[in-house]
């Protein structure tokens, strides 16, 4: 049965998007140039957009990695330039890791923290609008009324906010916020988590 567009969007949001940065890092590490990484990720999202049913996909993160690997391999074959690095990286055991792991959950939560940070550091008016409109779901007209601005300004600022957040999801390197649910970590120093191999999503891009 074909899944609704809305369910597909929600699935991409929860299962794919939070892993994008990790996927990008991995593609870079595998020797892809920055613009190639953009293209590969772009293509992966096109394939997700064409999915008719995601119910069979158990692990979005692994699916994301598999998808970009396939795209990278297709491109490599087409261009007939296949680096050893790429091939060896692409066959990494990481891809076998299909089980729902704590790492995957932690990476996703870290990404949510980054989104929260990104929202928090939007320019003031943009942030006000974006929070009301998108985080708390206040109707556009109501946001306009509360802030004493026109609805078109609300829309414009929301678009602006979303652009900056999309940018952050791809590469923004703001301070990372620890946000495991474990109580101590709420106040733990960022440095403490360095080198913790399980926190795949937490490490910084080198």
């Amino acid at each position: 049965m074909r899944q609704s567009r809305r369910d597909l969007v929600s699935w991409v949001g929860l299962e794919i998007l939070p892993h994008e940065r990790e996927v990008r890092r991995w593609l870079r590490k595998a020797g892809n140039a920055a613009h190639d990484v953009d293209d590969i990720v772009q293509e992966a999202y096109c394939r997700f957009a064409a999915l008719t049913n995601t119910a069979e996909i158990e692990n979005g993160r692994a699916y994301f990695f598999r998808t970009v690997r396939n795209i990278a391999l297709e491109r490599a074959r087409r261009s007939q330039i296949v680096s050893f690095e790429l091939l060896s990286e692409l066959d990494e055991a990481r891809l076998a890791n299909d089980d729902p792991s704590p790492e995957r959950v932690v990476a996703a939560r870290l990404e949510l923290g980054r989104i929260q940070n990104a929202i928090g550091s939007l320019p003031q008016r943009c942030r006000e609008v974006f929070q009301l409109r998108r985080v708390y779901g206040v109707p556009q007209r109501e946001v306009a009324r509360l802030l004493g601005i026109t609805e078109s300004v609300v829309e414009m600022q929301t678009v602006r906010g979303l652009r900056l957040i999309l940018e952050t999801l791809a590469r923004g390197e703001q301070a990372e916020v620890p946000l495991e649910s474990r109580h101590e970590s709420a106040t733990a120093r960022r440095d403490d988590r360095r080198g913790g191999g399980r926190l795949g999503g937490a490490r910084r891009q080198s």
Binding site: S10, A44, Y45, G137, A186
Partner: protein, 314 residues
């Protein structure tokens, strides 16, 4: 404009429109113009969906960095959203969906939250507050980062319930008490049972009906009458109960909850005593009541409500 930028504009424009049953021809045209656009578009929509998703709202709330104080504007906005009940609704969902044992709760300006904790303890969190809760095998720990909270602690002799507010630790076994973090210390009011408070000045046992104020100079314990407790904790019902407080002190209370501040322009008027029960979000009602009973004029501006002595009639 890049594809991602255009996609963001489309995602915002179509908003919640159900594209399955209500397709958008302009959007379709844009999508067909370049095969890559479908990917960028679903990505932009997915980001909005992720942010709006309640599960995420919960995680976002939990993710709020404790060190960074939200700006005034932000709190004001959160309060504005709370006024519509939306934040409150999102908050409750978030509280339920977060990990049952560990969680961070925060409230915006004017927002008051009732939170059932996983151990059966009931917590009420006052305006502009934040706390983290960690329920452990041997201990239940709460860190009040800022603001005020009241706890009706579920009895569990094996797991003491400990609240930390700055340097002060408050330990309870089965009891009800409130903790408020002040600029230079903390205040504890015990409504049931017994608690033990420890701070750099020493350890104090507090019984129901007592209040402890901890400041830089020391800790002072005092008995509080039931009326005073009712007044001090009326916020749990979203109320401000004035029982002979000065107009100035009452104004300060309203200003804890509202962006529109009450300003008392006359020193004599500020010292007048006042009695009444108000909603925390109704500073205008309070001002009107003061004006009517104490003979003051109310001047309302966008961000303040000023109380002045009535000008003598010419």
């Amino acid at each position: 404009m890049t594809i991602d930028e255009e996609a963001a504009a489309w995602a915002v424009r179509v908003d919640n429109r159900d594209l399955d049953s209500d397709p958008c021809p302009d959007l379709e045209r844009w999508l067909q113009g370049d095969p890559r656009r479908r990917g960028a578009f679903i990505r932009a929509q997915a980001a909005l969906s992720l942010i709006a998703d309640n599960r995420v709202a919960g995680a976002l709330q939990a993710a709020e960095p404790p060190v960074r104080r939200p700006s005034k504007d932000r709190r004001r906005l959160l309060a504005a959203a709370a006024g519509g009940g939306m934040l409150a609704a999102a908050g409750v969902v978030a509280a339920v969906k977060l990990s049952p044992a560990d969680a961070r709760y925060s409230t915006g300006l004017g927002e008051i939250r009732q939170v059932p904790l996983a151990d059966g303890t009931r917590a009420s969190i006052n305006t502009s507050s934040a706390m983290t809760v960690a329920l452990r095998m041997r201990e239940r720990r709460v860190v009040l980062e800022k603001g005020e909270a009241w706890f009706q602690v579920a009895h569990d002799a094996k797991r003491p319930f400990v609240v930390r507010a700055g340097d002060t630790l408050i330990k309870a076994i089965g009891t009800a008490f409130s903790v408020r973090q002040l600029e230079d210390g903390a205040e504890v009011i015990v409504t049931e049972g017994l608690v033990e408070a420890s701070c750099k000045h020493g350890v104090v046992r507090l019984a129901a009906g007592s209040r402890l104020r901890i400041g830089p100079g020391g800790a002072a314990q005092a008995a509080v009458k039931p009326d005073e407790i009712a007044s001090a904790l009326a916020w749990r019902e979203g109320e401000i109960l004035l029982d002979g407080q000065s107009v100035e002190a009452a104004a300060a209370q309203f200003n804890r909850y509202n962006r529109r501040r009450i300003e008392v322009d006359d020193p004599a008027l500020a010292k007048e005593r006042f009695v009444g029960l108000f909603r925390t979000n109704d500073p205008a009602g309070f001002a009107a009541a003061v004006a009517a009973s104490l003979g003051a004029d109310v001047v309302e501006t966008a961000d303040a409500i000023r109380l002045k002595r009535k000008a003598p009639e010419a």
